[in-house]
Point group: C2
Chain length 320, copies 2
């Protein structure tokens, strides 16, 4: 089995690569080739018997997919994307990377007859927005309030149509907010959600810009990687009329996150969190839905975290 | 006021043109220019003081929009599209006409600073599909089961995002099944819905391929044209987070349609309808949702037909 991963140098891409190498199989077949692509070449890895090719590529360039798809991958993880803030700042860049490059991938699969290739795209809670019900379902309309969410939603529709026509075997996983990410605070609006746990666990201070009653829909990096693997193994016949669905995150308030931190690391850890209300971050994060009924993912056997304490424990066991 | 209409040679485009000329104003402003575009030049019309330009153009060609948008229209009715069956038969053609040409329109507005231009696109019940609730709402997910519906749904997302960014002032009206269309039966799956009324009213026979309990969501041509006009007059501030909504059709079963025919034209007219079950047509039509709660359109002041008897009476008064 040949697996192609775009965005392979990113946090998720590297985690996924490691997990696939550790397993050695996908959908019951031995992994023989891994092609890892990103704007800058992904780090070299020791993958034993698996032939690994790492390559740097700008997927918005004409013909960028040719050599990649000529290798006729059995599974394509399309994780490459321009993030939300960048897509909002530069509409053309976002459309080129997030939409046009995905369309070129689908066209390339079509022209090569890769109708059996499982194409998995990571989508996002950002496809939702506007006036939403309290609990979202698989049948809630996508009315994104960002260009990033718009572009992902357009890709979802195209992947669904190409799958319906038998031109690819697509699957789109909408990812909850990933908590706890490793690393340092960054400019993402969701950065605080990892920071208020990660930094105190390391004995450092952190800033919480949102009210503690605010709810997030979250999933640990480990469960997201498991979902990406399961997503490639689900039988196409089980997917029904839509290939796109939200993964089973868990709903947790900031207050509950901090109580889990207290149970793990005591009052001293929680005391390292300073509350400095940030209207801009709060407005963005509060617009993200916090409650989902993920009936489709549940039926398909996707598994979320059991509790936020598990998420914290998972990070402490593997903080990188 | 300068109004541009694409697909102007079509049934709806011609009706809309006539209605605008008859009004002479739109949104309280005098119509001074009408630019009518289609693949073949729309018929010349007598429009009094309004300067009318008719032109043939393939909107999929590079630069096709340039001269049209250089005229800086205040309102653009984008009705041009490849119909459902053709988009299903030719994926590339459908993407080029239904999606890429719309994207080029939006890009052209953006590059010319036409943020105030009201861009109205006709969308369709075909954006819905798959596993649907019994009554659809403005918050029902779009999971189209046709390439036509997919392409329209992608345009909806893009129009919404361009509007949110202030690059256009977009409005997308999802049209119910239009009944009673003038003319002759054609290859469209919905053709029977007009034919079983139009032909008997003219003393001719017609074929009904679907069970009489089947429900359709319908709107008369006259009400659709009124909605297109109202859609250009609604204040942008009233539209909220989504520019896309279903128009207020009425739900009617085939049996109810035939009873309205009976009230209008007697038993003899209904007896001209032969029942010849057609599995293919029934499968397609039965997949279209028949019941909608159109809260948004209602709130915005869009008006549907009062009854199916009114639809029949309207056709008898103006059967062309």
């Amino acid at each position: 089995m040949h697996i192609l991963i775009t965005g392979a140098a990113g946090f998720l891409g590297q985690r996924l690569t490691q997990a696939l190498v550790a397993r050695g199989t996908l959908d019951g077949r031995t992994i023989t080739r891994l092609t890892l692509v990103d704007q800058s070449a992904p780090p070299a890895i020791d993958a034993g018997d698996i032939a690994v090719v790492t390559t740097s590529r700008d997927l918005t360039q004409a013909g960028a997919w040719n050599a990649l798809l000529d290798g006729r991958p059995d599974v394509i993880y399309h994780l490459a994307a321009v993030v939300s803030s960048a897509a909002e700042a530069d509409l053309e860049l976002g459309l080129a990377v997030n939409f046009d490059a995905t369309r070129a991938l689908l066209d390339g699969c079509r022209s090569r007859g890769l109708g059996q290739t499982r194409v998995l795209m990571a989508s996002s809670v950002a496809v939702y927005g506007g006036e939403l019900p309290e609990v979202l379902t698989d049948m809630t309309a996508l009315t994104p309030q960002s260009s990033y969410g718009t572009q992902k939603a357009m890709c979802e529709l195209l992947i669904n149509d190409f799958s319906r026509r038998g031109l690819i075997d697509g699957r789109v996983l909408r990812l909850p907010t990933i908590v706890i990410r490793p690393g340092r605070p960054n400019a993402a609006a969701s950065s605080f959600a990892s920071s208020i746990l990660r930094e105190p666990l390391a004995g450092e201070g952190a800033v919480c810009p949102v009210p503690t009653e605010l709810e997030l829909f979250v999933m640990s990096p480990g469960k997201v990687v498991e979902a990406l693997i399961h997503g490639a193994e689900v039988d196409a016949g089980e997917l029904g009329a839509s290939r796109c669905f939200m993964l089973p995150g868990i709903t947790v308030s900031v207050a509950e996150m901090l109580e889990a931190l207290r149970r793990r690391a005591g009052d001293a850890a929680v005391d390292r969190v300073r509350f400095e209300p940030g209207a801009a971050v709060t407005a963005i994060v509060a617009s993200w839905p916090g409650r989902f009924s993920t009936a489709k993912a549940d039926r398909l056997g996707f598994k979320g975290d059991d509790s936020f304490d598990d998420i914290v424990a998972g990070f402490v066991a593997d903080p990188h």
